[in-house]
């Protein structure tokens, strides 16, 4: 069965610091896609970043980047120069290439302190 594990229920850092959120997953398939979503207190789920498993290059989106280690089945999210608006729940998820079901982790609550 496919699973996603986020081992950090909650994290807090000072504004402008760098923070890394961890995510590990389990699948026996080879073709899949990985995502990080954020859910601020407003509750809207927002896509942060997407990574294709067949690409070795780590995806980046402005201050957000990932460290994708396929052999270790690890997909961590790094947020640089953190801002107060980054305060949110962050969810890691993956989907198999031939499947419509996103598999979600339980989330990490990230608090950015002023």
């Amino acid at each position: 069965a496919q699973t996603v594990t986020q081992s950090q229920p909650e994290m807090s850092v000072q504004e402008a610091e760098t923070v890394t959120l961890s995510c590990t997953y389990d699948t026996s398939e080879n073709n899949y896609y990985l995502f990080w979503y954020k859910q601020p207190p407003s509750r809207q789920m927002i896509l942060v970043i997407r990574q294709e498993a067949y690409k070795q290059q780590n995806a980046t989106e402005n201050r957000f980047s990932v460290n994708f280690q396929k052999a270790a089945k690890s997909f961590s999210l790094k947020i640089s120069d953190s801002q107060l608006g980054d305060t949110a729940m962050y969810f890691c998820a993956f989907i198999l290439d031939s499947n419509y079901q996103l598999i979600w982790g339980a989330g990490t609550k990230l608090i950015i302190k002023p």
Binding site: Y33, R43, R50, E52, I95, Y100, Q101, L102, A106, G107
Partner: protein, 113 residues
């Protein structure tokens, strides 16, 4: 640009009453549509998805049902709500292959009394 509308934002219903949550997408054709439920402090659980009009796939057996009467309209229903149906319901859309990103509505907070 594409937008997704989901309503109502908040709903309080008694046990045993019916339910109808509606979701519409604008700015795209033939989207894939999804209904999720999120328990407090947890990730999302996929309830239903649809790849076309009249095509509904159910991922979790429950007393909920879904329908897609129009290309960009997705409805979540129940004939009799249970206490366990309380939660946060999210509608989402994507286009193309399943690996494309899903985009979410603002959600409906459903409380069953």
């Amino acid at each position: 640009s594409q937008t997704i509308h989901q309503w109502p934002a908040t709903l309080v219903q008694p046990v045993g009453s019916p339910l109808s949550l509606e979701c519409t997408v604008e700015g795209t054709s033939n989207p894939n549509l999804y209904w999720y439920r999120q328990a407090a402090g947890r990730g999302l659980q996929l309830l239903f998805y649809s790849v076309g009009i009249g095509q509904i796939s159910s991922e979790v057996p429950q007393n909920l049902s879904a329908s897609r009467p129009q290309d960009r309209q997705f409805i979540l229903s129940s004939k009799k709500l249970l206490l366990s149906d309380s939660g946060f319901y999210l509608c989402a859309w994507s286009v193309g292959t399943p690996n494309r990103p899903q985009h979410f509505g603002d959600g409906t907070r459903l409380s069953i009394l």
